[in-house]
Symmetry: C2
């Protein structure tokens, strides 16, 4: 079947790289679910990835991996979802299911490489096309349920920004008695603040400036510091059990590592393309760690959605039409969004 | 009182930088222990530190922080040690005792800076002088007992090489079912192999060449690979739960990080002076961590000595006279030692 989409690369122009096209979706197989997409979040990764900044891409490329909608059709052997269900799809649409990591429910670390929602080679050899579209067909095991307590539009960013921050917060034990710092208050950062606060941790925001301080405190932070102020790094030395870096730009990693207390870990979920220089002597102090974390597994994604519904947590979004996508990307690059763009998929047209 | 020592810097010559001198030791205070030093290990750090490669030093500098000997005198309030006891002193001779880390028994991470055995400013304002000497005065809390099952000469390297590898192996859970790789088979590396094996882990050595393979296997490794062979990094991809890097030279960190399996950690106890570039995408894979670890606390140092006595583990040493120290340093720099030089302190003369 064909469906409407917004694609990058062909047709394209320098001024408006994203343009409306029509794409093909595969027929619904026995274990597939076809979803009528209602909303899709706009992630900074969409831009990096689609522009080829993280590796070569096939074009036309259809970004979007914060997908929510309603099940329109299910395959004959599908048991987990039914027509009419409110569902979501995140950054992965498949994995090998056979390696140790997949068996452990950590499909995002699939040893054979998970199949990403866009820009990956799918099992049938085609290039995966993402959620800036009206419809998508996904194997049922990679489709999660959106709980009743969550509106679909705000649920969309949870599928990447939510799980990407929830997973390391859980893995490194954010909770009562733990001091957690969140670097950056963008799409990921604002979710990290809300989630860490709901988990019971004491949350500090470390942002370039104080321009979003009021919002940060409202979201659950108990302190807010500007990293442009060198005193911040003196004041907060040896303070945090866990730092989640949501910034993809190159940061002065050693300065942030110095803020960790005994056995503290700085986890980057932001993805700077260049290697970051790490001073081993900084790690020696307080037995510090620098780690990376990539989204989360399917089981944990469902757990995160349920956690958000239970705690009344939702991303703060700006709902846009498909025709605004090019502008939205420019604003994402300027960090000019509070706090996540979400495309209303009903505005797509081929 | 005065005591014999071998010092660096004054008197000195370019050819033989270490020369015999006489140094002062403080009077034994109420909580002090005076130790007649019998043996002192030669650590690579002695060279880096004393040469000022890790920061400016005062001269004459007396290195040595793998000290063992016999208690010769105790202060009036000393309760933990008695004259005649076989004891050891490692890399620290004091700390603030008041910060959270000290209270947690992790004096090596003292927030106010632990007092190192040499090259530190002591509580009385003098420059600390280390174990290339005949006698030392240390507060009793920083003196550990050498268990009966350990000979004094081989016990010496445990005070740095032993605890520096024991502590991260314990902290990161080396034991049955865990695959541990040790990078480098020098003074630290050979202890790491023996300790990890005794803890029940499956141990692999990653060394530049296979020249020490036979010794590594004898010490408890079940596999041995040359890192000069690029295939090693393909063969061992995603293999290890824990990698202990004992090499102080700059290594291709990302290549080694790629050898970690899910949730694996590479811990550096080697101390390259320059920052190491870390690719965040390498950390994203398998949720990897890069950490640092610095020696161990006093309680843990005692635990390590007891563990070695219980398991019959000892460093493999080349016993030398003080007059051989300059040659020994040159050989350490060439990695030409199997596996630790230990100075017989009876050969010191002022």
């Amino acid at each position: 079947m064909t469906t409407s989409a917004h694609a990058y690369g062909a047709p394209t122009s320098a001024a408006d790289p994203l343009a409306a096209i029509t794409i093909e979706r595969r027929d619904v197989g026995p274990l597939d679910v076809r979803i009528d997409i209602q909303f899709c979040g706009v992630c900074h990764s969409d831009i990096h990835f689609t522009r080829g900044e993280w590796g070569p891409q096939q074009y036309p490329a259809v970004p979007g991996h914060e997908i929510v909608g309603v099940v329109a059709e299910v395959g004959a052997e599908v048991t987990r979802h039914a027509v009419g269900d409110r569902v979501g799809v995140g950054c992965m649409v498949n994995s090998c299911r056979d390696c140790d990591n997949c068996k452990a429910g950590e499909e995002q670390y699939c040893t054979n490489g998970s199949t990403l929602t866009y820009g990956s080679i799918d099992r049938d050899g085609t290039n995966t096309l993402g959620g800036y579209s009206s419809s998508v067909v996904v194997v049922e095991d990679f489709v999660v349920k959106v709980p009743d307590g969550l509106e679909l539009d705000v649920a969309a960013p949870l599928l990447c920004a939510g799980i990407t921050t929830y997973s390391p917060l859980r893995h490194w034990g954010a909770g009562p008695g733990k001091k957690v710092a969140i670097v950056g208050l963008g799409g990921l950062g604002h979710m990290a603040v809300k989630l860490a606060h709901a988990m019971g941790a004491e949350v500090t925001v470390l942002s370039q400036s104080l321009s979003k301080q009021e919002e940060g405190m409202r979201m659950g932070a108990s302190a807010y510091y500007a990293t442009s102020d060198a005193d911040t790094f003196k004041t907060l030395k040896n303070s945090f059990d866990l730092i989640i870096n949501t910034v993809s730009a190159k940061i002065d990693l050693n300065a942030f590592l110095g803020l960790l207390t005994l056995n503290g870990t700085l986890v980057s979920v932001g993805a700077p393309a260049e290697p970051l220089p790490v001073g081993v002597f900084t790690l020696f102090g307080n037995r510090r760690s620098f780690a990376g974390s990539s989204i989360g597994g399917i089981r944990e994604t469902q757990e995160m959605l349920d956690f958000c519904a239970e705690h009344g947590i939702a991303p703060e979004i700006e709902l846009i039409e498909a025709s605004q996508l090019n502008d939205a990307w420019e604003r994402v690059l300027r960090s000019d969004v509070r706090f996540r763009f979400v495309v209303d998929s009903s505005t797509l047209s081929a």
